[in-house]
Chain length 339, copies 4
């Protein structure tokens, strides 16, 4: 933390700020500047947010955080990339690119099993499908709940594909964990800390989606909630942020991939379906994501998007998914990844 | 919904879209345009989101929602403003402006009771204080939990001020409801639909904060979740949205007040503390909020902001709060409100 | 500037950074932190942006600006508020609130003279009207150009109201200056530095609008362009910023008023018409602006908004403007301003 | 345009709106909805913005544009992609990917000629370099102006690389055109319509950068300004948009590539240097851009970024650029492009 004093702050005010810094367990270090003084507070980074309150002291102009407040997620604590194992021989964060595919919502046995078969054939390594759906409107389809989880299990039994599915309520963590191979935290729950803490106590991979207005630093702090409870199996997922642009549902923040790779050891995947909101934009964003260095993709696929209960416009048809996967191998190979 | 056909879409494609609209229970109405056709779908608004999937049909360029998807929150269903009663003689949404004040977090009996007394004396009608704190970092103070609720009850017993406090986990709804007069949903939980549905089943006022990246329409849909479960006592709270500007913690969207007033009958209050993040900006934003037509304010007040466990920089000292309240009476009177 | 070294940066890397800082004319001051070192660079603030390039040196993590890069606009150089004189007895930034009103575009003599008369009667002190219109589409009305300026002069002759009008091309500065009392720089030209430099050489008040995506710091740097060329008569105008919210044309950043007042001595006015884009939202935003401490308003008024060549939906009718002005006196008085 | 009537609008109000639509040269077409009526206005799209003013009529709720207001830039007018020829055998928008490289600012003969030689050797096809620099601060280096243009001409003479350089003032268009092969319009001037109109009268390629807060639709309208004046040689450049994220200078909107490709025939290139602001993020964004379907790149390269007069932190060193170009060939080939 850097505490910036006001121009013209008095000696006493400076002394008081130094005293407070020491009281909070940090060592003050004053730089006497041309127009004003600034004070560095030296000590353990994790607790430094408490220094922010010094902004209320007389003579203080503002308090500027300099360092990153996350620790377990950081490359400084663990420089080598983490590989998250999902099933024997199936890891996210390794040499192999992992593609997760499936419908937004589980709608019926025929739909989910059929989709599972076709995405598997095209090269997907996991099946996605929502049983608990956080929908903007209470009048929209809210998901099949446990019945949906059962159908996902059926699809897994028939195809061998592990399952990724979302949990939205801390109450349901145990139930969903009984079915899911990977627990997904959706964008709206990225700062649902009660949920994150519970998931931190599981021994199961967590797919954590970035929120629509979550900075990369906040995103890593949310991962830190899971890691600090003991669960190290966290997969980060960029899925578009909210901006002024309305041509796409969100704006895919593709540079988040190299930014995250520079700051954390955790694997990073991309969701181009929610990022763009339109199926015809998805394939090129898949290629771009892999070229940018992503460890995988999560893509919405539906047998008949025009009848989908949710997110139809952004779902690829199985044939479109298959064509995308074929072309993706070329980009994977350019990125020195296998698919 | 307006379905816009591509230029050059075929007659068959148009016929298929019309058929699908009818299949979904709506009546298609084609406008033959200069360069392309557009189709209006006539019928009940609430279910229309299902029409969005038609974007996946051949020949369709895009699907444009025209009307608002909320109903119970809308002025069209209930034109006159709603008054939410908190205690006998104490309503939000009436002639009287309601000011809620108190610290971000409950920290000790002395802190919360002392603050309660001073804000009451200055004219506050409710006491705020957090016992469950959603914090960006797992290493930051997370709140006193039930002990904090008990201290709030003590403060209420000593001052008579009803209590507003946040609930973050559906599991705690019942517990918090035992202590709170008004249940607060924080900005990070505005789309925590599991929580909203449970709160919809209470007979207790809900203070619903807008999220950092929540549009006004989405905000009203979140209110609709509570209303559609039966609880009509919803108070909306604008608290700043996330923008590119970094001089303030968030950007107070003050025009949300007249926009909301035009669309909904629910009362609207403003939180200038979280919106700005800096105590010296709070008083002028209080005056502006009242001038804009807000029904009340929720303001952070702390006896010693420089030692606050959270949000110190944005907390007013009791004397500052008191001075603000005094000046606020002038603006309240200009706005034809009592204070 | 604070130069943050990487964890594990070598002694030699640190030495090289210190040497470079000295080479650029600054004094390095190292703080040896718990996990890494940070270096403060002490010296004249204005040129410090050159230090940003040190981020490219080995061992440097990033370079963080701590202080504000503007000088002439700052309160530190000139603590007391500036009053910009427009005509004898007419100043912006004093006790008196100044309301500027008129149509978006000058369309005809009848329109501009009629509007001038009615806004004058309602209490406006200046007339606005565009003769050069920067329009998003080349197929939209582009303004009457010099003919428009002449009609503005006619309106001034008939009413005595000084004229505010926009200049968009450096080539036209001299011509527009021959007619205008105040030269307006529109939001799209806030970083048209060629234009700003020319206006800095005039002896005439400049109304500088903030851009849609301009931070407050950048806004003040744009003012600094004018000031540093010699023209001290700058009036700042907040007119809404671009955010994700679509219910309003832009989002009025009302807290920009106290933020600007804290950083600069220049007067600050608000344009609620462009900020909101809808006439029915304008009056409440006028009241809020005055309550927030603005020195004035610039409001679009048109005799028949439904036929306006531009910005009809956000224009008040003369009767609406007049009603707003009447109510505004109450808020002005609460804010201890005269109107 | 769709004109949405208020619920409960009267027959007379509807009749008046229909009349006004006809008066403006359009044909009204009413859809009688379940809760309210909506009116489609049929006719030429380009002039439809004038219909927006009908929002001011009694009984009208709002006016929703349905179609795109640009014409010459659209794929509907010209379905096949445009190729912009820069020199004999050198086109942007064809099979070959075009990489433009060079320093932010021209600083000296040695710097610009040396950089030109090294980027040419690495495969760049054009040289970039700024002689007129729009800088946020008046105290920052403003460019070498005509001397810089002369040095660019020297670099071209020595290497044969055509020159891309920015023009910021309509006054300088003629002068810059004497030296430049491609005229660049910077992000801050994307809506400097006076400048765009002048460039529309040249017979020279224009590289038009998207603004920080420019929607894709507005961006195409700016291109339309150039096209409608007669100059069809427009190259679009995405360079990052302004969002809440601060880890990068801007947020690279990579999905703008397929969105633009779907709407316009104009070629699209990417500037990953300004988008990210950090050199280490540039290579992966180059690969991603090509994978997304971009027609080229414009990349900042400086021999010694730590001494650069501007934009040092985002400039690649020649060796880094060369390594990036080598790896880029793999992605180009996966994208079926030559390099």
């Amino acid at each position: 933390m850097i505490i910036v004093m006001q121009q013209g702050a008095s000696r006493d005010e400076l002394a008081e700020v130094k005293k407070r810094i020491r009281d909070l367990g940090y060592k003050p270090h004053v730089i006497h500047g041309a127009t004003r003084n600034v004070i560095g507070a030296v000590g353990d980074e994790r607790g430094k947010s408490v220094l922010q309150s010094l902004e209320s002291l007389p003579g203080v102009e503002n308090v500027v955080p300099i360092l990153k407040p996350f620790k377990l997620a950081s490359r400084e604590v663990k420089p080598e990339p983490s590989e998250v194992e999902i099933a024997p021989g199936l890891v996210v964060g390794g040499k192999e690119l992992i593609v997760i595919a499936g419908p937004c919502s589980v709608e019926s046995e025929e739909q989910i099993v059929g989709t599972a078969k076709s995405v598997k054939q095209a090269g997907a390594k996991l099946l996605r499908g929502g049983a608990y759906k956080p929908r903007t409107s209470p009048y929209s389809f809210q998901g099949m709940e446990e019945d949906g989880l059962k159908l996902l299990a059926t699809a897994r039994a028939e195809t061998g594909l592990p399952i990724v599915t979302e949990v939205v309520n801390p109450r349901d963590v145990e139930l969903v964990a009984r079915y899911a191979d990977v627990m997904q935290v959706g964008a709206r729950n990225v700062q649902n800390f009660a949920l994150l803490k519970m998931l931190g106590q599981l021994d199961k991979p967590i797919l954590l989606k970035r929120g629509m207005a979550t900075t990369i630093q906040e995103f890593l702090m949310s991962a830190e909630y899971i890691l600090s409870e003991g669960n190290q199996k966290v997969i980060l997922c960029e899925r578009g942020i909210r901006t002024f642009e309305t041509a796409t549902r969100n704006t895919l923040d593709i540079s988040a991939v190299p930014v995250l790779k520079g700051q954390t050891h955790l694997p990073v995947i991309i969701d181009p379906s929610h990022a763009t909101g339109h199926a015809h934009l998805v394939p090129s964003m898949c290629y771009a994501s892999v070229a940018a260095g992503a460890d995988g993709l999560i893509v919405e696929v539906h047998p008949t998007p025009e009848t989908a209960a949710s997110d139809g416009p952004q779902s690829l048809r199985p044939a479109e998914f298959s064509a995308m996967m074929e072309k993706l191998t070329l980009f994977a190979s350019a990125a020195e990844r296998s698919l």
